[in-house]
Symmetry: D2
Subunit: 450 residues, 4 copies
């Protein structure tokens, strides 16, 4: 809760942002407008929301900027509903304390502020951590975001950060921002669905917002909205299988990862031509970067270096840069425990026709737990979705829904082996014909076979 109320003034006239998903994003608070105008928040325009997914769904070119506004807008609507319909009357009655509103809105708006270019892959190579960086951007006095937040109170930046790290004391506040059905997920499903042009991510947001209500230990959903919640869980399940885990997007991610890996290797071994040293990446190659170094990176910076690397003398660096820029994805096939033993042999065959198997093959698994009931013994126990009955009692979602029960607690996704498309070439009059044929014998119906 914000201590100092001085900054919590409303704008004389509400400001709006036109949004293709929510129609309008409503901003009645000066604080929120000031946060949007910080350079750290504006940077999100240069970080794509879905990374390499645009190579499969060409419409998915949207940035984290619009998504962040969308999460804020959903959180704003939740607070408005709670304040109108479920205000707390006595402490601990499970109602909503509207002095939490600003901390919710700031956490919603800024939850992704630490994300960088192609975060997942970049973190893997350079050992950065977007969550730690989010906290740093909120709490370092040097950032514009921090300067704006401090105008509420000295503790406010840390309070907002603690919502994002799940340490904030009020579980209602935390669950609006982060739970199995939160403002973040609801926005990205709708937005990614809108931009990719797929139908899978659509669900009835209005109805879910209507049936959402606070209780002592968090957020619950009224029984008459149970099927809208069920539909949301299924939408998320399908978006993972159909969009987020698409083999072609993952193939492009593999290429990106190997490309950065190669650049790092060459830099560390002093084999990167001087003209191709990536100025803005050097602090990360040196493993000695400031927050400002991090904030200077974006998708365009990386692709600028890739454009330069196309002409590098190292053939692997040059080839992978071209494959990434010109969209030449690897092909892939599913791997199961029964076929995983084939991998060394397959890599050997790829190497046999002249590819460096370290850079030209990969194993990638993409799994998600679409929904899970609370399990205290789990590595990362999840807040379960609670459905409230007319008499006030709560029942966990998968108890009520056969279809949610069917996917509850089950990891969903697959593990795939990636390799150059050239391995599937028709081979009649080719030097490597027999190697290609041997390779191709191990693949049927999109999977490895013995």
């Amino acid at each position: 809760m914000a201590d100092n109320m001085a900054y919590q003034q409303h704008l004389s006239r509400e400001k709006v942002f036109r949004d293709p998903v929510h129609n309008y994003i409503h901003v009645p608070d000066q604080l929120i407008l000031d946060l949007i105008n910080t350079k750290e928040f504006q940077r999100l325009r240069r970080i794509k929301q879905l990374g390499t997914a645009l190579f499969t769904f060409h419409g998915a070119e949207h940035s984290r900027f619009g998504h962040s506004l969308g999460v804020y807008e959903i959180a704003r609507q939740i607070c408005e509903n709670f304040a109108r319909n479920y205000p707390t009357k006595t402490p601990g009655d499970g109602g909503w304390d509207n002095s939490e509103r600003l901390v919710v809105l700031c956490a919603a708006l800024l939850h992704d502020i630490g994300h960088g270019a192609y975060s997942h892959t970049f973190e893997h190579i350079f050992h950065t951590d977007h969550e730690a960086l989010t906290v740093k951007i909120l709490t370092s006095p040097e950032t514009e975001v921090n300067q704006v937040l401090r105008q509420v109170s000295d503790e406010f930046p840390q309070q907002v950060a603690s919502v994002i790290t799940h340490d904030y004391p009020n579980p209602q506040v935390v669950q609006i921002i982060s739970s199995q059905i939160d403002a973040d997920r609801m926005d990205y499903l709708l937005r990614d669905s809108y931009l990719t042009g797929t139908e899978y991510g659509k669900f009835d947001l209005t109805r879910i917002l209507r049936v959402m209500r606070p209780y002592q230990d968090g957020i619950s959903f009224a029984m008459d909205g149970m099927h809208a919640v069920e539909d949301y869980v299924l939408s998320r399940f399908q978006m993972y299988l159909q969009v987020y885990f698409h083999p072609v997007s993952r193939a492009m991610e593999v290429i990106l990862e190997h490309l950065l890996q190669r650049a790092k290797y060459l830099y560390e071994h002093q084999q990167l031509d001087a003209a191709f040293v990536p100025y803005l990446l050097v602090p990360f190659l040196e493993n000695d970067f400031t927050l400002n170094d991090y904030l200077n990176l974006d998708d365009g910076v990386l692709t600028t270096y890739f454009i330069q690397w196309q002409s590098a003398s190292d053939p692997i660096l040059s080839d992978l840069a071209q494959r990434f820029l010109n969209r030449r994805p690897f092909k892939s096939a599913q791997v199961t425990p029964a076929t995983v033993h084939l991998l060394p042999e397959l890599k050997r065959l790829v190497a046999a026709v002249g590819y460096d198997a370290d850079y030209y093959t990969a194993i990638n698994n993409s799994f998600d737990l679409p929904y899970d009931a609370y399990d205290p013994h789990a590595a990362n126990p999840k807040t379960q979705i609670e459905i409230s009955q007319p008499d006030g009692s709560l029942i966990e979602l998968s108890t009520l829904s056969d279809v949610v029960a069917a996917i509850s607690g089950k990891m969903t996704g697959d593990e795939r082996f990636f390799f150059p498309k050239e391995m599937l070439a028709e081979t009649t009059d080719n030097l490597f014909a027999s190697t290609y044929q041997e390779f191709q014998h191990h693949i049927l119906n999109d999977a490895l076979i013995d």
Copy 2:
């Protein structure tokens, strides 16, 4: 018309691209698929369709890649309709000759292939010409696009180019790609409308495609679709006024232009610190660039240099780079012939508080002719929209539609004076208080006043 039919094979199974605007883009031809896979076409993913419009409408982050696919898809549907319903039977009967199909599809797909990063502004500073570059990309043997096109015939690249330059002999072909109601405009109105989240650009594409028909001298529209065509003309009129000419987007374009201007000036006067020389821009600063140099540029390359320039020692370069990256648009006011005489005085006031008026003020006019009937005396006479009557006679659109007549032949848009937002500051205890006040006296209701 394509001479050699060898390459004109259909794919064994039609390929589709999921598209948020057209649902699916259908690709039954190997030729089209090969063109999409060229590096020159893939580069379009890195060039934004609407440049600085995203600073006003945050959803407008889409690239020219999706738009190019969309124009292709509309052209494909037009050809399919013409081939089924209006095939030519005897030469010169005004029917559709379906051997023109491939040249139409290629011209539709590739009409924007020569566009570069922030084309409008870039061309202004560096004297490039995206139409000439389009022709070059189509006809230079070094490009992948040319190599694919040549598989149809040696003349085919030049034929496709001539459609884009309006020199192709068959006016039906030219008008599908370029006229006052063509596949290009129809796609961008729908797409920009979808991405910005505005309603203005929507019109009834299906109906327009249904009533479109070839005749001797081009394309006409059946009378019972007249109102759908009218609605399209109005949609375009409104998108220009509401989206394309938005003062904030133009303010950001002004900043971009002045930023590039400043970099060019510093480079030419050897005042650009060595660390900040933009490697990939040098050929343009030297005015000596190859086609490959041009194809290496994209939006991300420019913003990468802007990120670096933020730390440059030149205060103007550094400040403008920050204004662009962090979205600090200039403010503006309408200028009319009656108030244009105020400009020197206003520039003087901007300079008086310490801004270099050459870089911190600008005049920008944005005008468009939303529709015009054919006028042989015009500098650039337009193909008018013809409505065909049940008995086959043609009537020009504005003759039939009062609302189209109202905007026909009238330039629409405005001229604006841009200046730093700081000039509108409240000024009670400021050194420059009287200067600011004097400046502010000249502005009322979004316009200059005496």
Copy 3:
């Protein structure tokens, strides 16, 4: 304004109605819920919104019930916006007095309560008046609607009625319900567009509601929403031309009118077989009906009699009933002042092949004034649309918009001559061949010609 506040309680939990156009209709007031549950309001489910339009646009089967809810919802949103952003502070300051809210909501919900089956046609034949009947339903103690309204105060029913008859003192209240851009028109354009599946009626409702604001003498619209208002005016213009005035719907209306006319004639001349006397219509045939008689009529009652009349002995009654039920529209052609002189001859030709020209031909004109600035000399002067400038001054819409100026003050529509489709038959070996040919010589390009 409601005197007695006793009844103005909010429901403990807001009630909602799922609506395809507005997503949800929100009902927080017990009063509104009680009005919806009256039998007079439920009757609106049995009265189609667009009468015979469904014979052209088969989707247009919706009733006045959903439309009435939609008008209420738009009015509710307007009041909510006004109360939040423009509350009155001192009497006469042009702000919004929220004690007007209930009278607005009731007038919005009930504005069509007096409409009957195929109102336009029915009124023409039986001299009923749906506006007078609306007032009667509101103010007669026998109705459930009146009983609910009286719980607010004894004067409340009359106050609501006076809004509908434009006699209520507060012009803001009247203009929300009835002006050139009111809740009624905004709902029907969107709803009719949604149900017919046409695009013409779509406009940006959210934006219009955002820029709407009260002033001393009514409602105005902020300048930055001017184009949304312009788009609304054009949408209405196009819906009239494309949907409401469609020749086939009007042809079916002509048949309906002649069918009722024939039944009335037969009844008055005691030629209607006893078995076919329409029980529920008798009070109207006798021109002596009660309010209850009127409320007993609906679309289904009329078609039930038409079904019976198909077997009547009078050939005209039976034939017209079949034409209406089985959708056998008359054909038509435009009439202009230059061709109106042809009508006697055309009727003669229709009669010559055996049709009773009184029942088998008709002149029907459908004209609308899509927009007009206020003209004190007009028969029925209209409240013009005012656009408010940043400094508060008001400018009439057509002064600012070329496209609105183009249609302002101009009657739009046409006059058509209707006749049996059989007159267009191919005639080679027919008894009446030469008559048909003579008739057909007078029609070209959908119009009469000399």
Copy 4:
């Protein structure tokens, strides 16, 4: 397959019907246009698709006419796809024989032609059978439909009928019209979803049509469309639970059924006042009706009699008529095997306060099997959904999909006890206070309890 090809001509210009769900319904065949223009098909405009559902979802006022056109349109697109991509080459190769096209289109268009007003309830009371009536309408020489069909060949009406009764030899043809994923279900899910304004029924029709393909024994779906099929199954599951089985719609159906039951009882016991005898219903009350009698009934005819019955002397008939017309649904509570024993007691309590329990209480169960794999031992074995693998092998859907497996073979729905809302009245100072209280003690959380 149609024997005589004479009638199978295409229209010179394709006719279209504007449709809110499919945008346009395309009719290139004279035969289809003639069928649409028959009086039996036009009658479908007067039969609502969803009966009493409009009392819950007020938008659901659409008739079977639009749905029938929609099923036709989907079937047309399936045939077009099959003919282009999967034509048979040798008999028995599993490809599509396009000479089946017309029989498919006619069966699709006419599959509901025998439906009457409030079919489900009407059939229950009057022992009519809409499927038998469909066959009769197709095959009786007296109907216009039969006269049109016979122009193809003498056998053609019977062939079309046999598709609808599942007796047609080609399983591909039968499955397009009737299977667990057929043109009928796909249209009604989308259409009912559009009209009710709910999201549940939406799925990706375009994708499903793309992956649909014929094989020897019917229709299968390609593996890469598996999730679109899964989404369709879930959509159907949710529409049943959320829309089709809604307790309020069922409550209105109960009232309708008891109202007709009462009228029948009174008629049979000569207690129906002469003025209230329902002329067009008499043949059904006498259980001696012709096809023409049946075709004369529609929704409006029934409500016309209900309007008259409101004034009948029998209090039950009059009261139930008012409840139906004015929407006064019964309340209800779920019954389980554990609580079914309470019903006699609850009925006794309803009777104790003065209601005739036969007319004022009811048990209604609504169950559906959302999906089932083929089970030869089932009473009514279903054609399972087959997913085809890249190598051509088929796998049944629930084998591949956890969520489909979760609902496969399980009856979904509930059994409810219906009673007058008055039983839930607050009862402090009421004669029957203790009876009401006793009744209310048996209901908690929407269910009966001991």
